[in-house]
C-alpha cells in the first residue's frame, strides 16, 4: 500500500466509527423495545372479556375475545394461551368470566370440537375445563358480568343463549341464565312483547337483540339492558321497565335508543342525583351517543338527565357508547364508558363522565376540546395526563377493575390496556 492508502485508512479510523448493519449501536439500543413473549397475544388483539380468578390455582387474569383464552399471573407481564383440550380441533373461546368471587368458578363459552358449536364450560382452576350440560336446547353465546352496586365489581354472570328450537323462537334471544359460583340458575324467559308488523299485532318473546349489560343492587334485584329496554328481575319473571310496553313504542325516555351498558352506583356517587343518602343511581349508555342517568331502586327507574357525546371532528358524528364502569381511584370519581364503532373498525377510546356535578363527556386524555362535545357543559376535566393515540382511537369493548385498583380496557383492534391511578390522573400502558 502506498502512502495515500495508509492516509485514507488513518482518516477513516480517526473520523468514522466502523459498523455493520444499518443502525448505530447506541441509537439502536435507545430505540429497542422490549419484546413481549405474550404467548400469541398481539398488540392488535381483540379483547372482549376479562376475569381475575384464583380458584384452586394461582391468582391470575384471564382474557378472551379473539378466539383464544390467555392467562397470566396477576403479578406477571407475559400472557400464556390456554386450551379446553390440548390437541382439540378449535379451542376457540368466545367469552370468559368468574362467578362466586376469586375462589369460585371460572366460566367460559367456547367451542373446541369439529362441530364448532359453542358450549358452556366451567373450571375450578383455569386449567381443567368441564362442559356444562344442563342448559337445554340452546346455544351459549355470551357471558356478561353482572356488576354489583359498587359500580365496578362482579360476583355473578349472565349467560345469553340463542334458542335452538324450531319455529318462531329459533335463533332468538328469548331466555337468559344467571350463574352464581358453580351453579347455573334456571332458564329465565324474556318478557313477551307485542309488536305490530304491518297491521298484524303479534305477541312474542323472540328477541332479536341479546342482553348487553347487567347489574344488581345487592338486595335481590337484577337489571338487564338490551338494545330496546331496561329490565328487572328479583326472583319472579323478568320485567320490562317501565311495564310491559310494546317495543319500540316510546313510552319512556329510554325506549328506542340503542341501549348497551348499565352500571348501578352507590347513593351519592353522582352529585345531585336523587336522594344522596338513600337512592341507588344508575348510568345507562346507548350506541346512539346518549348517556342517561337517574335512580334505580327496587326495580323502579327514575330518569334524571342525559348528555350526548358528539365527535366534532367528524361533523357532529355521535359517539356510540358501550360498556360502563365506575372509576373510583381518583377524587372525584368518574364513570367511564367504552365507545363502539365510529368509522369502520375505529372507535373513540373511552369516555369519561365526571361525578362531581360537571356532567361532560371527555376524551381519554381530556385535553382535546375538539374531540367530544358535551350537550350540558363545555368544561373539560383532565382524566389522564398522557395521550395514548391507539387507545384513544379504539373501540373499547371491555372495562374491568382488578383487585389491586388498576383498570383494564379491552379493545377491538388494539389489544389490552392497563390503567394505574396516580394522584388525580393515571397512566395507561398496553399489556
Amino acid at each position: 500500500m502506498n502512502l495515500r492508502t495508509w492516509s485514507a485508512i488513518g482518516v477513516i479510523l480517526l473520523l468514522v466509527s466502523c459498523s455493520q448493519g444499518t443502525q448505530g449501536i447506541f441509537a439502536s439500543i435507545q430505540r429497542e423495545q422490549k419484546v413481549k413473549s405474550n404467548g400469541g397475544l398481539s398488540d392488535g388483539a381483540t379483547v372482549t372479556h376479562m376475569a381475575e380468578f384464583q380458584g384452586t390455582g394461582a391468582a391470575s387474569y384471564y382474557i378472551a375475545g379473539g378466539g383464544t383464552l390467555f392467562h397470566r399471573l396477576t403479578g406477571a407481564t407475559d400472557w400464556q394461551p390456554a386450551t379446553i383440550s390440548a390437541g382439540a380441533t378449535y379451542n376457540r373461546f368466545m367469552a370468559v368470566g368468574s362467578a362466586g368471587g376469586n375462589t369460585g368458578t371460572l366460566w367460559a363459552v367456547a367451542n373446541y370440537d369439529s362441530t364448532g358449536s359453542n358450549k358452556l364450560f366451567s373450571s375450578p382452576d383455569g386449567v381443567n375445563w368441564t362442559a356444562y350440560t344442563g342448559l337445554g336446547n340452546v346455544t351459549p353465546q355470551n357471558l356478561i358480568p353482572i356488576r354489583k352496586s359498587d359500580g365496578y365489581s362482579s360476583d355473578s354472570l349472565l349467560l345469553t343463549v340463542t334458542d335452538n328450537t324450531s319455529g318462531s323462537l329459533s335463533g332468538s334471544y328469548d331466555q337468559v341464565f344467571i350463574i352464581t359460583s358453580s351453579t347455573v340458575g334456571a332458564s329465565l324467559a324474556m318478557p313477551a312483547i307485542t309488536a305490530t308488523v304491518g297491521t298484524t299485532s303479534t305477541t312474542t318473546n323472540a328477541y332479536s337483540f341479546p342482553i348487553t349489560g347487567a347489574a344488581t343492587d345487592g338486595s335481590g334485584y337484577y337489571y338487564f339492558i338490551n338494545n330496546d329496554a331496561l329490565y328487572s328481575y328479583n326472583g319472579g319473571n323478568i320485567t320490562r321497565i317501565p311495564g310491559n310496553s310494546p317495543m319500540p313504542t316510546d313510552t319512556s325516555e329510554l325506549n328506542g335508543h340503542g341501549f348497551y351498558g348499565i352500571a348501578v352506583l352507590p347513593h351519592g356517587t353522582l352529585t345531585g342525583v336523587g336522594n344522596g343518602t338513600t337512592d341507588l343511581q344508575a348510568v345507562i349508555t346507548s350506541t346512539n351517543g346518549t348517556v342517561y342517568w337517574g335512580t334505580l331502586n327496587s326495580g323502579t327507574w327514575t330518569y334524571v338527565n342525559q348528555v350526548n357525546g358528539i365527535k366534532d371532528k367528524y361533523y357532529g358524528q355521535t359517539v356510540p357508547m358501550g360498556t360502563v364502569i365506575l372509576e373510583n381511584q381518583t377524587n372525584p370519581a368518574y364513570v367511564w364508558m367504552g365507545t363502539r364503532n365510529l368509522v369502520t373498525n375505529q372507535g373513540a377510546g373511552f369516555v369519561s363522565l365526571s361525578t362531581a356535578g360537571v356532567y361532560a363527556l371527555q376524551p381519554p386524555s381530556g385535553t382535546d376540546s375538539d374531540n367530544y362535545n358535551s350537550a350540558t357543559t363545555s368544561t373539560i376535566t383532565t382524566v389522564s395526563s398522557s395521550t395514548v393515540t391507539s387507545l384513544a382511537t379504539s373501540q373499547i369493548l371491555l372495562l374491568f377493575k382488578a383487585s389491586d385498583g388498576s383498570y383494564f380496557a379491552g379493545t377491538a383492534t388494539q389489544g389490552l390496556w392497563k390503567w394505574v391511578a396516580s394522584g388525580a390522573t393515571g397512566t395507561w400502558s398496553q399489556q
Binding site: I25, A27, E32
Partner: protein, 200 residues
C-alpha cells in the same frame, strides 16, 4: 504482620477508603518515584448514564441500570506525582431484551496524584478507542475517560482503593455508509471500581 496487612487490605477493598493511617505510618514508598511502574487491576459495577445526539439533549440509554467492568492498567512514574500509562478495560451492559453491549476501551492516560500520607488521590485523563460490540455490529469508537480515585498506600508495593472513571464514548456516523448520521451518539457511562495497584 504481612498477614495482618493483607487482612486489612481485604477489608479496605470491601469498605472503600478507611483511615488506616496507623498501619502505614512507618512505611516508605520507594516505588512511587520516576522510573517506577504501577500495575492496576480493577473490578466494579458499570452504570449507563445517558446517550446524547451530537448537539442534542441527554436521553435515557434504555440499558439496564447495572452492568460490570474489569480493567488492567500500566503506568510509568515521571516523578512523585505524575505518571503516564495505558489502560485496557472491558464492560458489559444489557438492553431491554437482555442483549449484551460489550465495550473494550484501550486508552492512554496521564495521572496526577495528590498525596496526603498515607493516602493518595489520583486525578487523570485518558483518551483512546473503544471496541464496541452489540448483536452483529462492531464499532471502533472514540473515548475520553476522566478519572478520580482515593487510594490507601498499604506498603511500598501495594495500594488499594476506589477509582471512578467517567466514560465518554463518541460514536459518530458521517452518513456515507449504511448507518445514517442521525444515529450518531455520545454515550456516558460511569464505573466506580475497587482498585488494587502493585508498584514495582
Amino acid at each position: 504482620m504481612t498477614r495482618l496487612r493483607a487482612a486489612f487490605a481485604v477489608i479496605f477493598l470491601a469498605a472503600g477508603v478507611l483511615p488506616l493511617t496507623a498501619q502505614a505510618s512507618d512505611l516508605t514508598y520507594d516505588h512511587r518515584v520516576a522510573g517506577d511502574r504501577a500495575l492496576t487491576v480493577l473490578i466494579g459495577p458499570f452504570f449507563p448514564e445517558a446517550f446524547q445526539a451530537f448537539g442534542g439533549k441527554f436521553e435515557s440509554t434504555n440499558l439496564g441500570t447495572l452492568g460490570g467492568t474489569l480493567g488492567l492498567g500500566l503506568d510509568f512514574y515521571l516523578d512523585e506525582h505524575w505518571s503516564l500509562g495505558g489502560s485496557l478495560r472491558g464492560s458489559v451492559a444489557f438492553s431491554p431484551n437482555k442483549n449484551t453491549l460489550f465495550m473494550v476501551p484501550v486508552t492512554f492516560r496521564a495521572t496526577y496524584e495528590f498525596k496526603s500520607y498515607p493516602f493518595s488521590f489520583p486525578v487523570g485523563m485518558g483518551a483512546g478507542i473503544s471496541f464496541t460490540s452489540y448483536l452483529s455490529s462492531t464499532n471502533i469508537d472514540y473515548i475520553v475517560t476522566p478519572t478520580v480515585g482515593a487510594l490507601w498506600n498499604m506498603s511500598s508495593s501495594w495500594s488499594f482503593g476506589i477509582e471512578t472513571t467517567q466514560w465518554i464514548v463518541f460514536q459518530p456516523y458521517l452518513g456515507g455508509g449504511s448507518v445514517p448520521s442521525s444515529d450518531s451518539r455520545i454515550g456516558y457511562f460511569i464505573d466506580p471500581s475497587l482498585t488494587a495497584i502493585y508498584h514495582f
